[in-house]
């Protein structure tokens, strides 16, 4: 079946449920508490807060320096935020390793391109569709995060816990926009 055809997409099960797939290994309250404790220590020992989105900008600047050094370094964003290895970048690299360790110890390594829930909705041959949607999602998130000043970690956890007004506005936007698009993808 051609999974790009709208009718084919609609023909797939419309009632795919996220609850049919395994939930978290640990209690979300325990994990939330420990992330909160972690945030104490990042501020105390590193004078910095949890965040992730700016590391993608760092990588884009590093790649830009390889392919068009002069132009990249002429951009105001990279002058204000030089693309170099920083505390936040190391934190970002650590996330990959930590998640790998957690999945390996919990027998949860997946090693697949299509998430099972996506596959149930859009078909087993929807690799291109998933790739296109994932890239588009990444594009929007990067522009949105840079405009808002942070992501689900930087604003959604680090900023909100310091009761920053801008962070609460941003976090509300994250979920309003996210719920809207998720409903379009899975519930229309």
């Amino acid at each position: 079946m051609n999974s790009f055809h709208p009718a084919a997409i609609l023909a797939q099960a419309a009632d795919v449920s996220p609850l049919d797939y395994p939930g978290p290994a640990w209690s979300p309250y325990l994990v939330g508490f420990l992330i909160g404790v972690l945030s104490w220590f990042t501020l105390l020992l590193s004078k910095d807060t949890l965040g992730a989105s700016s590391s993608y900008a760092t990588i884009s600047g590093m790649l830009g320096k390889v392919f068009a050094k002069k132009h990249t370094l002429s951009l105001a964003y990279f002058q204000d935020n030089p693309p170099r290895i920083s505390w936040g970048f190391m934190l970002f690299i650590g996330i990959f390793a930590g998640a790998f360790l957690a999945a390996a110890t919990g027998n949860e390594l997946t090693g697949r391109w299509l998430p099972p829930m996506w596959e149930a909705r859009f078909g087993a041959d929807s690799h291109l569709l998933r790739t296109g949607i994932a890239i588009a999602g990444g594009l929007l998130m990067a522009v949105g995060a840079r405009l808002a000043g942070g992501c689900t970690s930087g604003h959604g956890i680090s900023g909100t816990m310091q009761l920053s007004i801008g962070s609460w506005i941003s976090a509300a936007g994250f979920f309003i926009g996210g719920i809207f698009v998720a409903m379009l993808l899975y519930r229309i």
């Binding site: 996220p18 609850l19 797939y21 939930g23 978290p24 290994a25 979300p28 309250y29 994990v31 939330g32 992330i35 404790v37 972690l38 945030s39 104490w40 020992l45 590193s46 910095d48 992730a52 989105s53 993608y56 900008a57 505390w87 190391m90 650590g94 996330i95 990959f96 930590g98 998640a99 957690a102 999945a103 997946t110 697949r112 829930m117 996506w118 994932a134 999602g137 990444g138 929007l140 998130m141 522009v143 949105g144 995060a145 405009l147 000043g149 689900t152 604003h155 959604g156 680090s158 310091q162 009761l163 506005i169 941003s170 994250f174 979920f175 926009g177 698009v181 998720a182 409903m183 993808l185």
Partner: protein
């Protein structure tokens, strides 16, 4: 500060970043938020794992950070409030979040646990970040900066002291957590 102390400081800072990142990634994966269906389930309002983790982290973090700040152990690290940029940027981010299901941090956790579609999200993020840089001053323009309030918190907004604000915020967070637990889902 002499050169070797400076270098030592940098190595210490970068090593701490890596260590904190490993712990953060470990916790994200154990919390299930490296999983596509858990994130998408939250946006479909059927699986509340993400909200439970975030609100518990905010509650715990808030109490500890303000307590340490009071004792002058830490400085707060707050970003400026730009209502227009926060709202529009937040909504754009949210729409991207809805498409990819992974957000920037959980995307790294998703890749770490073997969800290779996270690489496509990362590619989009890298391209998008460069496009943002290319756009230069467009996003810094007067429109997006309208109503810029600077580094402002709920404490400033309520024109009150810290303790009642934090108590109020803590109570609100706990109430939402209890309600979410009651209405079920996951």
């Amino acid at each position: 500060m002499n050169e070797s102390t400076e270098k030592h400081q940098r190595i210490r800072q970068l090593s701490l970043g890596l260590l904190f990142g490993i712990i953060f990634g470990f916790l994200l994966q154990k919390g299930g938020v490296g999983k596509y269906h858990v994130l998408m389930g939250q946006l479909l309002l059927e699986d509340f794992t993400v909200l439970k983790i975030m609100l518990t982290a905010i509650l715990t973090g808030m109490i500890g950070v303000f307590w340490m700040n009071r004792r002058s152990w830490v400085e707060l690290d707050i970003k400026p409030t730009r209502p227009v940029a926060n709202a529009i940027g937040g909504l754009l981010f949210g729409m991207g979040f809805g498409l990819s299901a992974y957000c920037p941090g959980t995307n790294a956790a998703a890749i770490g646990q073997g969800n290779f579609d996270g690489f496509a999200v990362a590619a989009g993020m890298i391209i998008g970040s460069y496009l943002f840089a290319e756009a230069g001053n467009f996003f810094k323009s007067g429109f997006f900066d309208r109503g810029n309030m600077g580094k402002v918190t709920l404490i400033d907004l309520l024109k009150t002291t810290r303790r009642p604000t934090i108590a109020l915020a803590a109570a609100a967070l706990i109430i939402v957590l209890v309600v979410v637990e009651r209405i079920g889902g996951r």
